[in-house]
Symmetry: C2
Subunit: 333 residues, 2 copies
């Protein structure tokens, strides 16, 4: 673990080690998000892209390609592809969730309108598609096409699972795979595939990304009941207000007394939310150990992510990816 200085966070180490390639990714993103004909497009995308974000997904692609000893140049295209897909889904998510804040700034649907967010999202998705076709690698295209379908399916499932206390942990896992883990898994896998890595290695990279994504999303869903708005760049309590049935809610509902269950029915199913309800929800989660239980599950997925890496070639970045799995859960504390 020679590349990690004491106290440095794994994603900062990744950013540092991959700085030259990430610069190329950023050039490509800026170039391809432009439009000769429709100036609204770069306005909207610049707002989102320049807000930064962690760029975790493209770094996963670049790291996987480097670990598999790829000499380029198409890992840069694939990293940009993955970021475009991510940005497109954010634009559509914010329309669907009627969100007002993203990455600490007002959302595009608030600054422009829902129409622009829908259509610019479509544009970015089609641009991502052009980028991946340029690689000329059919296996990569197959992986990304399947990931796109899983993402869209997960989003629709989330829509129907929200406001429904019958949503169980299996449905939650399906939603999480769609909204987060599918793209993490594809981002890692295509980095190995473009490098010509053997199937056991690309499968391990997929499994790492899948488990990392699930750990990441469980942690995110916990932070929504505990983090501060400044820290995670979105508003705490968003999921509660949107009546999403996330893991801490599922666990608290499973252990609820009849009186508590009536509370959950009112706030989640009926959407009748009053002052103090969010605080009461958090208190109920604490009382039944729902937060701790959800955190334990995130840790199990982080451990699975680490374990998957044993089938990946030894490399100093492999150690950073292993630490990243712990880190996404450690954010909760």
């Amino acid at each position: 673990m020679g590349v990690i200085a004491a106290g440095q966070q794994p994603q900062d180490v990744l950013a540092q080690e991959l700085a030259a390639e990430m610069a190329a990714v950023n050039v490509l993103i800026r170039e391809r998000m432009a439009s000769r004909h429709a100036p609204r497009i770069p306005e909207v995308t610049a707002h989102l892209v320049e807000a930064g974000g962690k760029r975790l997904r493209p770094m996963l692609t670049l790291a996987a390609a480097r670990i598999c000893n790829y000499q380029g140049p198409f890992h840069v295209h694939l990293a940009a592809t993955v970021e475009f897909i991510h940005t497109a889904t954010l634009l559509h998510d914010d329309v669907v969730d009627e969100s007002a804040q993203r990455r600490g700034r007002p959302t595009a649907n608030l600054l422009w309108d829902n129409k622009s967010s829908v259509l610019v999202g479509d544009y970015l998705f089609s641009r991502s598609f052009q980028l991946m076709v340029e690689t000329g690698n059919l296996r990569v295209l197959d992986i990304l096409a399947n990931a796109s379908a899983t993402i869209a399916e997960g989003e629709v499932l989330q829509l129907t699972a929200a406001q429904d206390l019958a949503t169980d942990e299996a449905v939650y896992l399906q939603v999480v795979r769609g909204k987060t883990a599918a793209l993490f898994a594809a981002a890692c896998e295509v980095g190995g595939v473009i490098a010509g890595a053997a199937v056991p290695v690309t499968r391990a990279l997929h499994d790492y990304g899948d488990a990392l994504g699930i750990a990441f999303q469980i942690a995110d869903d916990l932070l929504d009941y505990g983090g501060s708005s400044a820290l995670i760049g979105k508003n705490t309590g968003d999921d509660f207000r949107e009546r999403k049935v996330t893991l801490p809610v599922i666990k608290a509902v499973a252990r609820a007394t009849p009186e508590e269950r009536a509370f959950w029915v009112r706030v989640i199913e009926k959407g009748d939310q009053r002052a103090g309800d969010l605080e009461r929800a958090v208190a109920l989660m604490g009382r039944h150990g729902a937060m701790a239980a959800a955190r334990d599950e995130a840790l199990v997925w982080a451990e699975r992510a680490r374990a998957a890496l044993t089938s990946v070639p030894a490399h100093e970045l492999r150690a950073v990816l292993a630490d990243l799995a712990d880190y996404v859960v450690a954010r909760i504390n």
Copy 2:
């Protein structure tokens, strides 16, 4: 023209000649629009897909493949791909336009909600992507990726061009290429490409589809000021209410007196529309020959479509495609 019986419309002849393959396309569409996890998806897509529509785009793909002597099976995948892309854009269009009626039925955004329309559109787009990857043909993927980007760009351009009387015929043409001609052109071209046709042939098929799409859209935009709701399955005057600057408007504005110009500024730019305004708009278009001039342009594009076919192998379906170009404009009368 042995396959055309007297009085039969060209698209009915296509439907009849391609019936067996269209049955296979419909099976594939039904199979792939399903979702194991999210039942909302087939509900929404069935509503749209079963409303019928003319299925013109998939028939163009099948016809092009047959003219180029393709033996299958991937023209069926490509025809379904093209219909999925079309259906996905309809779902997103209806959200953007806040439409209430499509193909003579209430729109999905009205029956479910905008969220479902956005996300199910994304799902269909990703399913189309999976279907085209299955063909394993990188040139086909390149053509469809580029068409997708042109479609999305055209939609955004339409958004910013609406409500703006400075929109000229060049911008209009760009919008029309995006919203209609790009997919018509790609639908025709990929039919030739999958059949291994020579570049002059696939280019001619592209040019035919492009010109056909433009003629079709100009005619559609004219019908919006003259057709009846029952005839075209949407409400006459939709474009006027949505303040879209289509070809007859551009031509009427170019010839407007100062007083007439004030009318157009009020109804299109300011969006202050009153009872009788649609009728007045139609009257102004008639007075300046705007409708006739737009119709003449549609005829020029239809002629270009016919002319492009001279570079395509002689075939009885080629004659039907030629007649189709005349027919899409003849609808206006």
